[in-house]
């Protein structure tokens, strides 16, 4: 823990260095389903999450996420209120926002939103400056130390484009993660979003997330402060 904090401080100059690189021309349309027919989204039913981290590990395996980095994880809290103490489990991932603050800050135009809503990073262009990492209010991005590029959840676009489901959704033991096309009136996500009061994380940021939380306690919508961590993947506060 202490070790990684030190790493964090040491890393700052490197980020600044990356920013000096020149911007790039606008990106061409990505391969895959780019005609705008779909709008991919996820609903997370927090009552169903059992905090097993199957999503976290399947994502690591599917997407070659390097050690101590996460495209998704389940934050697990112990909540003490009056006489009661309970466990709260909150899956987190890129929100594939309709108004993603990570995109405009990219000096090289490497990060962009596909027409189906998936926010991606063009590895050919990314210079690893980490501006987008800092701009994301959800801490959903990181620099992949194997590739040197900004990295993040893609909703497993490579799988979705092949007619499959994101890895985390496939293996969600509690069935908490529901993925689909908001533009499809028959999809489960459309049904859930239409029939329930959904919450999103940090709504005040105006990012318009497309990961919707069903049954989310509003006290977990923003930054959650706490003392001590039982599970302490090396990292800084967030």
């Amino acid at each position: 823990m202490i070790q990684s904090r030190r790493n964090f401080l040491r890393a700052l100059p490197a980020i600044t260095a990356g920013a000096a690189l020149a911007p790039a021309p606008a990106i061409a349309a990505a391969a895959g389903e780019e005609d705008g027919r779909h709008r991919w989204a996820m609903v997370v039913d927090v009552q169903k999450c059992i905090g097993c981290q199957a999503c976290t590990v399947s994502c690591i395996m599917e997407n070659a996420v390097p050690e101590n980095s996460f495209r998704t994880i389940v934050s697990t809290y112990e909540v003490h209120e009056g006489p009661r103490t309970n466990t709260y489990m909150l899956p987190r991932l890129c929100n594939h926002c309709a108004n993603p603050p990570c995109i405009p800050v990219c000096p090289v135009g490497a990060t962009f939103q596909r027409k189906d809503g998936v926010v991606v990073v063009d590895g050919d262009r990314c210079v690893g400056c980490a501006y987008c990492v800092q701009a994301c209010p959800y801490d959903a991005r990181f620099i992949n130390h194997a590739t040197g590029k900004a990295d993040k959840c893609t909703f497993c676009a490579h799988r979705v484009d092949a007619g499959l489901l994101p890895a985390c959704v496939e293996t969600c033991v509690g069935g908490a993660r529901i993925f689909g096309d908001l533009n499809d009136p028959d999809s489960k996500v459309r049904h859930l979003v239409d029939r329930n009061k959904m919450k999103v994380l940090k709504p005040e940021m105006g990012t318009q997330p497309h990961v919707f939380y069903l049954g989310l306690d509003e006290r977990f919508q923003g930054h959650v402060e706490g003392a001590g961590t039982l599970w302490q993947p090396s990292g800084h506060g967030g």
Partner: protein, 1083 residues
């Protein structure tokens, strides 16, 4: 609003992963510049280094095309003891396992599972976006199940046989040829330059007694012993080798240091202390569930199934709520579920006080299911609508001094005549008091309800005996303490005990209580028996929404319909006394001798007549030489030195001394804390390389078997004939070298008796598969060519065709392609099955005994006979069972009083054990309370062990798990911490009377006051934590594998016993890891 919010947040201690999400950034930015130069350019422009998809499916049409470079196969995960069926995705070119998810056919992984007949192609489509099928029928792997594939490529794997070249435990090894390995182990010799070591051939003495003065110990062959862990699908093969073929009695699993106390407590309830049946809540239909010492969705078996169902229940529209009673708050609870989920903290090891308090209240308030409990036998119970029954009304002799004091009154006591060998056995009926005829009648003759609370005298034959019904005995025991006393003992307020009992008895049979590994305390057995008694008081067994036994498996090994994998010519029937002493002391020569000397008790060490094989006692027994020493020990995929609480400190030095145990051979894919002390390590197949047929061992109420087959080529060194070295090849080679029966070119036989070879693993497992294929009403279908190709079974098709008969191989392929065989999931309830073979003895059909008996009691049908009789008649016409009865029912009676426990004596004190559930504080073997020996003043805290969803005793090597959860700081309640001046992150010495470890403290409100909670799975000394030298070359090691502490290193020995020993439960003989006296000392 702002204030309230802040106070809430400030109080939120974090149970994990608060900051994890951003973690990657900090760890990586320092190296960023190297990579900005493009050295490791991602493989794909937008998808980085993500894997290529295994299939492509047209979402509109469902047309599927597979990626020809990848293979998806259904096989078994052995990442924990649930043994789920999973889908393994493999890179065909390299054989590397890329990712693991769930098998959609398996009830262990999918809810609901696909019908067994579904073609493999359809099963793939069912996982995809096509019609969103992949959401509705998703089949999952858990976090650990996703991660353990890393072990396949671990640098710490043992891939060739090794022999130690330094002292035991020195970590110095020499790889040796397989032939040398077999020759040295069989023939012995001066193997290590330390003097002669006797080999397995010389040790196989089937005739000479270990001790002529104690012939009951058996022959010297029993001094060769094999420790296994779980039945992951290969145990029958190991059993054949060590018991039937080699001839030793001594083979044991890990139950005594897993959930042994719970299983024994349940075994007492179910009337079988050796097989220890247990039932699980029907989470799909239960309305109120209490979990005590088990944490659904957090840990325990079947992990995913319980997690999926609890998630569904707490978020669904059906009535459901649950309570988790535990000293530690885990992920079994969910704040998001609101009042549907509650955590009740309890003092460690006091669950019995809570349960007995609930029992007392339920009896006082008459909230028990009287209709269920008054049924005298199964027939009458069934006829009156009960799906199971109990012996609540059966009468027990309570007459001190009577030869059968503490035994159930039987038909013979009433004058029925049986041959000696049947007297007081299954056919000799029990006796109930007929409230109408006002006299005792044999239970099989009773036609209606029997007296529930009988307490008095009755004429039995020529005697007048004091008798009590089992229910009266339970009431008496429950009333021994007041509710206030029970509350004080367990730390749960009286109103919560009452509230739990009230709620539990407010849902008819749609309530359930469940327990498991959290029962491993010094009072574990009685705590568990008391907890499961609650289920019996509401009569929920075999009922929808109540508790269900599992549906069992299809038997591979045995005298099956295609092959005889059971008996063989020359098979040995091992005999003697198991080294764990799980037999009555009163049958030993020691007892006779001491009795003649005037003082029969205490025995030299405790005996456990009501326990199964006890790994907890094995190794200390061997070192103490009581009842005898061991000459050779084979450790197969087990790790007692890590898992048996307190064992390492007791015997690590002894085991390092070859004089005390001359030969230790480990068969294991890794060097663990136990195999590190071996003389030889033989590699074993790992995970998806391996064969096996395993059953779901709880929580799945349909019949199913999971297949494990090598979906990738085993990595271990190959023999000249192409077989990879593993457990099977090793034992086959040993057997052949010693010319043992049951192995070799004619080691097996088909069902007609024609000889077949047993020379390769597939000779066993494929033929076992053929047996499974032919079980049931009709054999399974044959696999299509497409099934075989798509599932990867094509890779082993030559083996199938070579090993099996032409009519067999496609049927076995059908099952392998689907990862096993299972009964239709919809058949969980209401199906009438043919009665089990041994049902007669227990179903106790009316009048069964009367044909033989002179009817000394003159028992007449009770008043209710006419009504009940009509219903019995209807049942005989094979009417369907009610739709809320389990298809797979347990039909023996629930035991409110267990006479085998109630008549057993402590071999230390000579005092009888209680035959009913009971609250008794943890005590050592001579009855001294633990807290008397180790008072609170010196040891103010208590240790408990708990699990996270991620780590178990052998998963630490998976790097991705460590990335999420690298350590196990010990958790302490903030009030205790304040008293000790400790803060999160402080270093402490955690001390018990058994040891001391340096640990980091974390403060949690989710821990009961007075408790230090230690997560299981850390504190490894091996598995890669230590560098070994192999062939003179230093091997790698990884310090992170050794992170944290292992509670089992701090376990107690029993100060009232002599010699080496670990503290165990007095009845179950199971280890004690909950409630160990402890203290924290600031570093």
């Amino acid at each position: 609003m702002e204030d309230k919010r802040r106070s809430f947040l400030r109080k939120a201690a974090i149970g994990g992963g608060l900051t994890a999400f951003a973690a990657g950034f900090s760890a990586t930015a320092g190296r960023m510049l190297d990579h900005a130069l493009g050295k490791d350019k991602p493989k794909q422009r937008l998808n980085g280094n993500s894997l290529a998809p295994e299939f492509t499916v047209n979402p509109a049409t469902g047309a599927l095309s597979v990626n020809p470079e990848q293979q998806v196969s259904y096989t078994m995960c052995t990442g924990c003891t649930t043994f789920c069926s999973v889908r393994v995705r493999i890179d065909k070119k390299t054989g590397k396992v890329l990712r693991v998810a769930g098998n959609p056919y398996s009830p262990m992984s999918a809810d609901p599972p696909l019908p067994f007949q579904t073609p493999v192609r359809e099963s793939f489509v069912a996982l995809t976006r096509h019609q969103e099928k992949g959401l509705a029928g998703r089949s999952t792997a858990c976090g650990r199940g996703n991660a353990v594939l890393e072990q396949m490529d671990s640098p710490f794997r043992v891939l060739a046989p090794m022999k130690r070249v330094g002292p035991r435990g020195s970590g110095q090894w020499q790889p040796i040829e397989f032939d040398q390995l077999v020759k040295e182990i069989v023939e012995g010799g001066n193997l290590f330059g330390e003097g002669e070591v006797r080999g397995l051939r010389a040790l196989r003495d089937l005739h000479t007694p270990i001790d002529a003065q104690q012939p009951e110990l058996g022959a010297r062959v029993n001094q060769v012993a094999l420790m296994a862990s779980t039945n992951e699908g290969r145990l029958a093969f190991v059993d054949r080798f060590i018991k039937q073929s080699y001839g030793s009695l001594n083979m044991v699993g890990h139950g005594a240091y897993c959930g042994g106390s719970y299983r024994s407590g349940s075994g007492a309830m179910f009337g079988d202390m050796k097989k220890m049946p247990h039932a699980k809540p029907d989470l799909e239909n239960v309305e109120f569930c209490i979990f005590i010492g088990t944490a659904p969705g957090n840990a325990g078996n079947p992990f995913k199934r319980q997690g999926t169902l609890i998630a569904k229940a707490r978020s669904g529209n059906k009535q459901f709520s649950y309570v988790v009673v535990d000293p530690v708050l885990t992920n079994a609870d969910s704040l998001a579920a609101g009042d549907r989920s509650r955590w009740v903290p309890i003092k460690p090891g006091t669950d019995g006080a809570l349960a007995m308090g609930m029992i007392r209240w339920i009896i006082e308030q008459e909230r028990y299911d009287r209709h269920y409990l008054v049924q005298p036998n199964l027939k009458v119970a069934e006829a009156s609508g009960e799906a199971s029954w109990s012996n609540a009304t059966h009468l027990v002799i309570v007459q001190p001094g009577h030869a059968r004091d503490g035994r159930y009154l039987r038909g013979s006591d009433l004058g029925m005549v049986f041959p000696d060998e049947e007297r007081y056995k299954d056919k000799d009926p029990y006796v109930v008091y007929d409230p109408v005829a006002k006299k005792p009648v044999v239970h099989t003759e009773a036609r209606g309800e029997a007296e529930l609370f009988f307490d008095g005298e009755a004429q039995a034959g020529t005697d007048t005996l004091k008798l009590k019904s089992a229910m009266s005995l339970l009431r008496e025991e429950a009333f021994r303490h007041s509710l206030a006393d029970y509350s004080a003992a367990c730390g749960v307020p009286v109103e919560i005990i009452e509230g739990l009992a009230r709620e539990f008895t407010s849902h008819g049979k749609r309530a359930a209580v469940n327990a498991h590994g959290g029962m491993m305390s010094g009072s574990g057995f009685y705590n568990a028996y008391a907890v499961v008694m609650l289920n019996t008081l509401i009569g929920n067994l075999n009922r929808k929404g109540g508790t269900l036994i599992n549906g069992g498996g299809f038997k591979d090994a045995g005298e099956g319909p295609r092959y005889n994998l059971g008996s063989f010519a020359g098979a040995v029937k091992p005999s003697g006394i198991p080294i764990g002493r799980n037999v009555p002391y009163e049958k030993t020569s020691e007892f006779k001798r001491k009795k003649e000397g005037g003082k029969a008790y205490p025995a030299q060490a405790p005996w456990y007549p009501n326990a199964p094989g006890l790994a907890s006692e094995w190794l200390t027994s061997a070192i103490n030489g009581y009842p005898y020493t061991l000459k050779a020990l084979i450790l197969w995929s087990c790790n007692p030195l890590y898992g048996v609480t307190g064992l390492r400190a007791q015997i690590e030095k002894d085991l390092a001394d070859p004089k005390k145990l001359p030969l230790i051979v480990a068969v294991d894919p890794f060097i663990n804390e136990s195999s590190a002390l071996a003389d030889y390590i033989v590699p074993d197949s790992l995970l998806y390389e391996s064969w096996g047929w395993a059953n779901a061992w709880g929580g799945v109420a349909v019949k199913m078997s999971t297949a494990r087959w090598p979906v990738v080529e085993p990595k271990a060194r190959k023999l000249p004939d192409g077989q990879a070295i593993g457990m099977e090849t090793f034992f086959i080679a040993l057997a052949k070298a010693m010319a043992l029966p049951g192995f070799g070119p004619a080691g097996l036989a088909d069902a007609e008796g024609n000889p077949c070879p047993l020379e390769r693993p597939e000779d066993w497992y494929l033929r076992g598969g053929a047996n499974i294929a032919w079980l049931g009403k009709t054999p399974v279908p044959e696999a299509s060519d497409e099934d075989i190709d798509l599932s990867g079974v094509a890779r082993i098709r030559p083996l199938l065709e070579k090993t099996l008969k032409p009519e067999e191989w496609r049927k076995v392929a059908f099952m392998l392609a689907r990862g096993g065989r299972s009964q239709n999931y919809k058949e969980m309830f209401g199906l009438r099955l043919p009665p089990p073979a041994d049902a007669k003895a227990h179903a106790a059909p009316a009048g069964a005994a009367s044909g033989k008996t002179p009817q000394a009691t003159g028992a007449k049908p009770l008043a209710a006979a006419a009504v009940a009789g009509a219903a019995v008649h209807a049942a005989q016409e094979e009417a369907p069972y009610p739709s809320d009865w389990a298809t797979h029912r347990f039909t023996k009676p629930m035991q409110l009083y267990n006479e085998n426990v109630g008549t057993a004596k402590s071999s230390f004190t000579g005092k009888r054990f209680s035959g009913t559930p009971s609250w008794r504080e943890p005590a050592f073997a001579d009855g001294t309370p633990v807290r008397k020996k180790y008072p609170e003043a010196e040891w103010p805290l208590q240790l408990v062990s708990y699990k996270s969803p991620l780590q178990n005793s052998y998963s630490i090597g998976a790097r991705s798990l460590r990335g999420i959860h690298p350590d196990n700081p010990v958790a302490l309640h903030p009030e205790d911490a304040a008293r000790l001046g400790l803060h999160s992150g402080d270093s402490v010495y955690l001390e018990t009377p058994g040891g001391r470890a340096k640990a980091t403290v974390i403060l949690r409100h989710g821990v009961q006051r007075g408790v230090v909670a230690v997560e299981h799975g850390f504190g490894h000394r091996e598995l890669g934590a230590r560098a070994h030298r192999i062939g003179g070359k230093a091997q790698p090691h990884e310090a992170a594998i050794g992170a944290g502490i292992n509670l089992n290193d701090l376990g107690l020995s029993d100060p009232t016993r002599s010699g080496r020993n670990v503290f165990v439960d007095p009845v179950a003989g199971a280890t004690v890891r909950q409630g160990l006296p402890a203290r924290l000392v600031r570093v």
